[in-house]
Amino acid sequence: MWGIYLEQLLQSLPFFLKGLWMTVAVSGLSLLLGTAVGFLWGIVRASRRRILKALIGAWVDVIRGTPFLVQIFILFFILPEFGVHLEAFPAAVIALSNLAACFICEIVSSGIESVPHGQREAAVSSGLNGYQQLRHVILPQALRVILPPLVGQYVLLIKDSSVVSAIGVMDVTRAGWLTVQRIPQGILVFGLVGLLYFAICYPLIQISGALEKRLGRSSRR
């Protein structure tokens, strides 16, 4: 009996791969956008701009304190009532980018704050301007602290991207939902879905671990 299902599943493999491609597209795009915005927010959050800092802090708290599923529902189902219509794909990318930015913002700002204060004082004293201090002195040192948790966060976000299937994005999770209605072997179907996510995430987990080990070594120097 399993043999038949396995064969059917194999036939729908192209369908799954299309879903996988969508998962990669949504999360890849969101991670790119989220990283850019998250670094910007994180830099502001570690600066002395009080009002901007507070605004970003409040937004990050709201996003971190509500379920992603609810955020994406609000964006997709409730905004149209106010006249803002979004297709499923852009809605998914916006919601996931925002979530990524919020988590990355926290990683970046604590990374910047981990750089000893004397480093900024030395940079200030030598006449470097704010941008130059950040670019040449603060960020290169902060990055060593930021990278391992950043890559770890990417793994979480790729997995969170499965939530976008709820608004009809044809990602690999949704491919599983649709397939399981034809092939009533949940364990096979979702086993495959899980395997596909694992295939993307596992290398990232390895990279994050390697980065962490390297950081530990260099800080002991």
């Binding site: 004397g118 030395a122 200030v124 004293s125 470097l128 301007n129 130059q132 040449h136 002195v137 290169p140």
Partner: protein, 242 residues
């Protein structure tokens, strides 16, 4: 070159500088001593506005440092600052540490900056350490790189905030030696230190600070032989017996 006119500074409720009046001429070497917490570090940190002042006037190289509208980046490029904890950039080699500001702030071509960096590092006795990272250098070597980093900007003023306090005793002299040479070349220097031998030998004047006030300031012969204030005498008797 540097003039404090009734300068006050508070950290919250704490009054750390209480009406400082002081003039330092071009080419002068001033040593500032005093117990910890007396405000001597704060005093030199106000000169490049690492610490802003709240009252009074502070004129450095003709610029009004007390005025928040005065842009500091340009003035800071003219003032070398050496920290107790060195504060070298750990992700850069010695040569990269000393050439960063000349390249970025002075817009000096990289080759020229590197030639200058090599020359200045050689001057502080580190010609063979150009490509070492700070973590590979001893404390004394790190502090000499830090001095070289200041000198590569061809500054008009060098400020030293307890430059030898974090060093093992056997490394203190190599740093003082570099500073002596600098003083002989006519650099305007303010040095916060407890190295009284250094003060006696190279300072034009020695100042004593306590509780945020400049208690006494005099040429070293006078300062050490005939201190005017009781507090200065007490302080000197404590540190000179060690």
């Amino acid at each position: 070159m540097i003039e404090f006119r009734d300068v006050h500074k508070w950290f919250g409720d704490l009054h750390v500088l209480k009406g400082i009046r002081l003039r330092v001429a071009a080419g002068e070497v001033l040593v500032v001593c005093g117990p910890s917490g007396s405000g001597k570090s704060t005093l030199i940190r106000t000169i490049n506005r690492l610490e802003p002042i709240q009252k009074g006037e502070l004129i450095v190289d003709g610029m009004k440092v007390h005025d928040p509208r005065t842009p500091m980046t340009k003035l800071r490029a003219e003032i070398g600052f050496v920290f107790q904890q060195f504060n070298l950039y750990p992700h850069m080699t010695a040569l990269e540490n000393v050439t960063l500001a000349p390249i970025k702030v002075r817009r000096m071509p990289r080759r020229e900056a590197e030639a200058l960096g090599k020359e200045v590092l050689a001057k502080v006795g580190l010609a063979d350490k150009l490509h070492q990272y700070p973590a590979q250098l001893s404390g004394g070597q790190q502090q000499r790189v830090a001095i070289a980093r200041g000198l590569c900007m061809r500054p008009k003023i060098m400020l030293f905030d307890e430059p030898t306090s974090a060093l093992d005793p056997e490394m203190i002299n190599e740093v003082l030696e570099v500073m002596r040479a600098l003083a002989r070349e006519g650099m305007t220097m303010i040095v916060v230190t407890h190295e009284m031998g250094f003060a006696r030998e190279v300072a034009h004047r020695v100042a004593f600070m306590d509780y945020g006030e400049l208690i006494e300031i005099a040429p070293p012969e006078e300062f050490f032989a005939r201190p005017q204030s009781e507090r200065t005498r007490l302080f000197l008797s404590k540190i000179l017996t060690h």
